[in-house]
Symmetry: C2
Subunit: 575 residues, 2 copies
């Protein structure tokens, strides 16, 4: 039973489900459902898929997450960044609009689902930590720009393509002659209206004395209002005959049972994008889930979240969807609307299922420009260049990671961008640790403390060189220490003893052990003693398994002060 409820969190909250939770969840579900209809259509468009795929991708996944996920408020479905990654990944293996394209989307969701499940079962969620905050921030900002740019073609009514900013802009410019001015009017007024709702309507309503709940509800229904108004306009004036692209006929159906493409070629072509989508989706989802859980003192289990998201993606793969994850905006709406348990998600799924059956004829005249407007307004809120200023002021390495991620994402596409971001941050970290800070330390008079001779007035001796190594010693910096000690000792002719202070050395790997042995041998040749101080327990345990301590041309002292007093007093006549 214990392992059952580990893997099936529904068993724990389901047992205490009561009438009050039911009604709160129902209310939240209605609000989220209304919000999700245009959003799902829009993200399907962004992914290059038929609009119904967006609805389907919100039904089974949301239900499966409700069973396997640990967050009470997370709403799973298509999200902007993952939809963009999907378009980029599938665009490399199939032509948009073909059957192969839709099947590749299913496969991508399936591979991503399996990968997430495996990560969860093997408790490898920590791998997501390789995406540093600056890389994520840079990537999200650049993706927002890419997504907004990719939607301009719908606002202008032209056909264009591309997966990088130069490609997109070039393609837009090349097709400017196709521009459809009625579409432009619809697209820009929808965009303007939505920006106005987001920026000005709330303060206006508040000024008119409306309550916060009403204010919020009106603001959130902006996209629905835009959808209704523009759809009616197209229908009333027959604008689709005048070249305005509309959603068109959408099958009136519950999510179909589908089978992802299983050819090894397809799977191997989609493997790397699927891994990227999984990791990025997981990072977005877990951030939202943890933020919302913290507000109610609830816990989210990252490894079980992987299982929940894996199940959701497998669900998408078998019901006509595409890759999904826990979305930021939809989860916030769900949380704010009062969702208490994952059951709210199940009710949302039911609502969307009804919509997919009953409402799809109504979206026939919905202009694609309106959907593009909702996407543009949503993603531009993701664009935030303040990370540039913050990291510039804090650390150049982080700044470099942000800038490279942004530029590479815009210039080379999302996959190259995020992969390079990860690689660059790892390399910068390794570079920093390859040249560790090594301080020569001396005794702060009247204390037992040793501090950097360059920052403090301290006591030193020409015969004793005390070096505090501010880094774990491992292969990347092993040779650095070798060279450093050698050059310090050869330039200071009176040095009789070297003390390496190990208070900040958290590890000594095999390469560093060999370097320490080399340092020891060279110092023996020079007639100089080598001592260690403040070696941590785990490091000492390991060194004691080798001959190094026996062969050390000196002693290991518990504290730097012990080393100093011993070396200054023990053999004074020998000096």
């Amino acid at each position: 039973m214990i392992s059952f409820s580990r893997y099936l969190p529904i068993l724990s909250w389901g047992r205490h489900y009561d009438r009050s939770a039911l009604s709160n969840d129902m209310v939240a579900a209605v609000i989220v459902t209304i919000m999700l209809i245009p959003q799902s259509l829009a993200y399907a468009l962004l992914a290059g898929l038929p609009p119904e795929a967006g609805i389907y991708a919100s039904i089974a996944p949301i239900m499966l997450y409700a069973i396997f996920g640990t967050s009470r408020a997370l709403a799973v479905g298509p999200v902007a960044v993952v939809s963009l990654l999907t378009a980029s990944a599938i665009g490399q293996v199939a032509e948009a609009g073909t059957a192969g394209y839709a099947i590749a989307a299913l496969t991508l969701a399936g591979v991503s689902g399996v990968f997430l499940l495996l990560l969860g079962v093997f408790r490898l969620g920590f791998l997501a930590n390789f995406l540093s905050h600056p890389v994520i921030a840079g990537f999200i900002t650049a993706s927002g720009i890419l997504i907004a740019t990719s939607q301009l073609k719908h606002i202008l009514g032209v056909s264009a393509h591309g997966h990088t900013l130069p490609e997109m802009l070039g393609s837009l410019l090349a097709h400017l002659d196709q521009i459809n001015w009625i579409t432009v009017v619809i697209g820009t007024s929808a965009t303007g209206f939505l920006f106005w709702v987001r920026g000005n309507l709330k303060p206006l309503l508040k000024g008119l004395g409306a309550g916060p709940l009403l204010t919020d509800l009106v603001a959130k229904s902006g996209p629905v209002a835009a959808v209704v108004a523009t759809t009616l306009a197209v229908w009333a004036f027959g604008l689709d005959q005048a070249g305005v692209s509309v959603v068109g006929s959408v099958p009136q159906s519950l999510p179909p049972l589908t089978l992802p493409g299983l050819s090894p070629d397809l799977i191997s072509a989609l493997l790397v994008p699927a891994i990227l989508i999984s990791v990025i989706g997981f990072v977005e989802s877990i951030s939202v889930a943890q933020t919302l859980a913290a507000k109610k003192r609830q816990r989210v289990d990252p490894d079980q979240e992987l299982i929940g998201l894996g199940a959701a993606n497998l669900g998408a793969a078998f019901t006509g969807g595409f890759p999904v994850t826990g979305g930021f905006s939809r989860s916030i709406v769900n949380f704010d609307a009062g969702a208490e348990t994952p059951a709210a998600g199940i009710y949302t799924a039911i609502g969307l299922a009804i919509a997919s059956f009953a409402l799809t004829p109504l979206v026939f005249y919905l202009p694609q420009a309106t959907l593009a407007a909702t996407i543009i307004v949503a993603v531009l809120s993701l664009v935030d260049f303040s990370i540039l200023k913050k990291t510039w002021g804090y650390a150049r390495a982080d700044f470099t990671a942000v800038v490279s991620t942004i530029l590479l994402t815009l210039g080379m596409g999302v996959e190259v961008g995020v992969a390079s971001g990860v690689a660059i941050s790892i390399l910068l970290h390794l570079y920093k640790t390859s040249r560790p800070h090594v301080a020569e330390v001396g005794l702060v008079p009247g204390t037992q403390h040793f501090r950097n001779v360059k920052r403090h007035a301290v006591e030193t001796s020409p015969h004793v060189l005390s070096l505090r190594v501010d880094e774990s010693l491992y292969f990347v910096n092993a040779r650095f220490l070798e060279t450093l000690v050698q050059s310090r000792v050869t330039t200071g002719c009176d040095i009789k003893d070297v003390v390496l202070m190990f208070s900040a050395v958290n590890e000594v790997d095999f390469s560093a052990l060999e370097s320490l042995e080399a340092i020891n041998l060279r110092l023996i040749d020079m007639g100089v003693g080598l001592h260690l101080s403040e070696v941590k327990g785990p490091v000492m345990d390991r060194l004691q398994r080798t001959h190094f301590i026996d062969e050390l041309n000196g002693d290991v002292f518990l504290s730097q002060f012990d080393a100093w007093t011993h070396l200054m007093s023990a053999k004074p006549t020998a000096r």
Copy 2:
């Protein structure tokens, strides 16, 4: 002038060159030349090139290194591992024995030379540190096995191919029907003889009272004896007519002027192998150079060594050679024979030039099996599995790196093997730092020291949780600390203050800063104070540039003892 002699070390030693150095260098050159003739032919064979390429690759490179290199005793030329890498790299772009193959070898040497020069000019020699000692040891051992296996076909007189152990063995088995028994007799007796010389002759001569120099000289001339004996045997009995493969006619010529292939396709295909060859060659060379320099208290400048090796490889590219580096065995022989300056290398080059002109007709009847025997005996001394035992006893991560490098090199080839070895050791390091050791510490009674509560009898308080973080905080472990602090605080209900002891925190990157801010906010929500102690100067400098210190729900203390006394005494009634 200063910058001149930085880039041209010959200007500094050349100025003091005297008669005694001259005679010592000449003696060393004669010994090295005799040793290099069979070795050069053999390594050309290993690289899949005509035998004269091995001689050519020893002439111009050795001279250029004498001008630009900083080691006094390093002997540059073809070496076993680099020759194997060359064969593997070129085998992917051309068929062995064709003109394209020889041209690709020139290009490989040229690209490698340019890369080494660039590394040297931009002082990027530290990049070689990414190859950890265990990875190098595993790679060399696996390469030794691969090289020895690749030579079995010459011993058996069959044609076989392959770049991995399974490929080679499979190909050998498939061609066993071609076996030539006379070749087998020559090959096995040469191999047996060389092993006997290496293992038993020295003790025997010593037992007979021979001096160490004579002993050494006789032992070193073993390969020459084998070459002479088997060549005479083939010539006398006409064994080449009986199917024994011989070296055949070698052009009697000084090194020709050659032009490497410059097509962008060829260069880009060889770029990655050239980088690998450069880095591995540099690591081998610098290790030998530093070992020999330390014996005579001389200095080797790694960045200038890169320039020396780069020049040597460019020399090889334009004189009919292939990639070269500082070799272990030839340098030891040079050093032991008394070489005092790089001039010994110049004399060796002259000796080889004479040999390439005068001696090449004599090697017509030299059996390839003899050359294979010299390679096998030389490389099997590189095979050393003791690294497995050493790393197993020391650290599992290092052991894993060795085992993976050996298995991947044998099973997937040298390039995959060494690249995976580097990747695996980096990932293992990141994995270790992703779950840092965090010790709860308490006061050692009667001192100002704080130690791990699990290892020492220390004073603690139920209200103050002191955690010593034994790792720099950066993106890979930022979330780990967040989770850890949260779970510690929620399980200890009486905790009023958390102190993070930063004595081993050498860096806090932007991601970790955001995690610290998140920890601070959550602790504020819980009404728990957050304090830092023993923050290093560089870390504090950086934190002070942010709002974190202002918003900290507590104080920063200079020492953990200050924090403890303050928290235990300042507000005792509040507890």
